[in-house]
Symmetry: C3
Subunit: 149 residues, 3 copies
């Protein structure tokens, strides 16, 4: 993993090149923790050698895991970073493309990168916070008012 | 719906947590109107309990409607807000993921949120305008020159 | 093609309306060259009349081409612009939606626009560079340190 941190105006933009064999989720979490990111948009494109995505099951209150055991293009990696229980929390979804152009996607649980994943993390200019929702057990975004950074 | 409005440099970033049971399109339109947004990028991830997407039919000059009557992950919500006939106009497309990881998508017509939809609206730093295209009847983006905000 | 160049803080945001019959890849490359963009996020939505996407074959070290010879919604166009061998280099992936809501996607090789493609190019606030990876022959993002723009 190699990162470039740019600052422009009041917010930071962190560009991450995730390398072959690294797990995308671990790397983005690492970067978020090291750079102490508390409110950001995340986008990315690249490829995975193997991946696992999730679908949140309403009754089970847990993710159904869908394995993607093949080389795929990362057509879209999209989400955000907010603060949950005092730490940066990553929430990214992905759409993956197979050799024939068909797609598969979900909440990104694991993605072993090959040959690269190019991620751009853009701070939104203030802290975002999450709170546990009693119905689902998920930490959901809380956006309760107006902040000026 | 809960919103946080951040300002950073000359432009605003509006973060919207769309709540259970709310329609994503109505909520984003409401926020765009209240905050008088005339030029922005829109991204989002989350889940829908039921949704309807559209495909623009070239001959009929209208959207074919595709119903998605099931819980899906919102893998990608992407688009923009511009000004059309004096008001903010939202144009967002979406890719949705089912329990088995298969996907369905289109122009977002309606999406009943569950359990959350996390939307980030980033002003581009100037006004964007749309104009009705006589061939299709659609309001298309007009980007005729160079502006400095 | 019509473009609006906005400047906000230290970076530029370039909004591109790609017109009927134009190729999305050529147009975005043209804009990147004319505006000399060396580090940016790219997003877009719209429609293609016909398109071609690619899947990188690990053994062949080349893209398998998947033809999409029909009118599709551009559900997501996502990627970045960096500098490779002294010139702006575009890397965008796409997810396309058919009449029945099914999707197809890949690395965008060619997309003939109809009726519009609305692209937003946001500079990240510094230069990004690519370097050829000997294993794949691909120019991969290099993000080796910390820059302050």
């Amino acid at each position: 993993m190699r990162t470039t941190e740019l600052t422009d105006g009041g917010h930071r933009v962190i560009v991450v090149a995730v390398d072959k064999g690294e797990d995308a989720v671990s790397v983005i979490n690492d970067v978020a923790n090291r750079s102490d990111i508390r409110g950001a948009r995340v986008t990315g494109v690249g490829g995975f050698h193997t991946a696992e995505v999730g679908y949140f099951d309403r009754e089970a209150r847990d993710y159904v895991r869908v394995a993607v055991p093949e080389q795929v293009e990362v057509l879209s990696l999209l989400g955000d970073i907010a603060e949950s229980q005092g730490k940066p929390a990553l929430h990214v979804h992905t759409v993956l493309g197979r050799r024939d152009g068909t797609t598969v996607g979900g909440h990104l649980l694991r993605g072993e990168v090959w040959p690269t994943l190019e991620v751009i993390i853009t701070e939104v200019g203030g802290n975002l916070t999450k709170q546990v929702d009693p119905e689902t057990g998920l930490a959901l975004l809380n956006a309760p008012g107006t902040q000026t950074a």
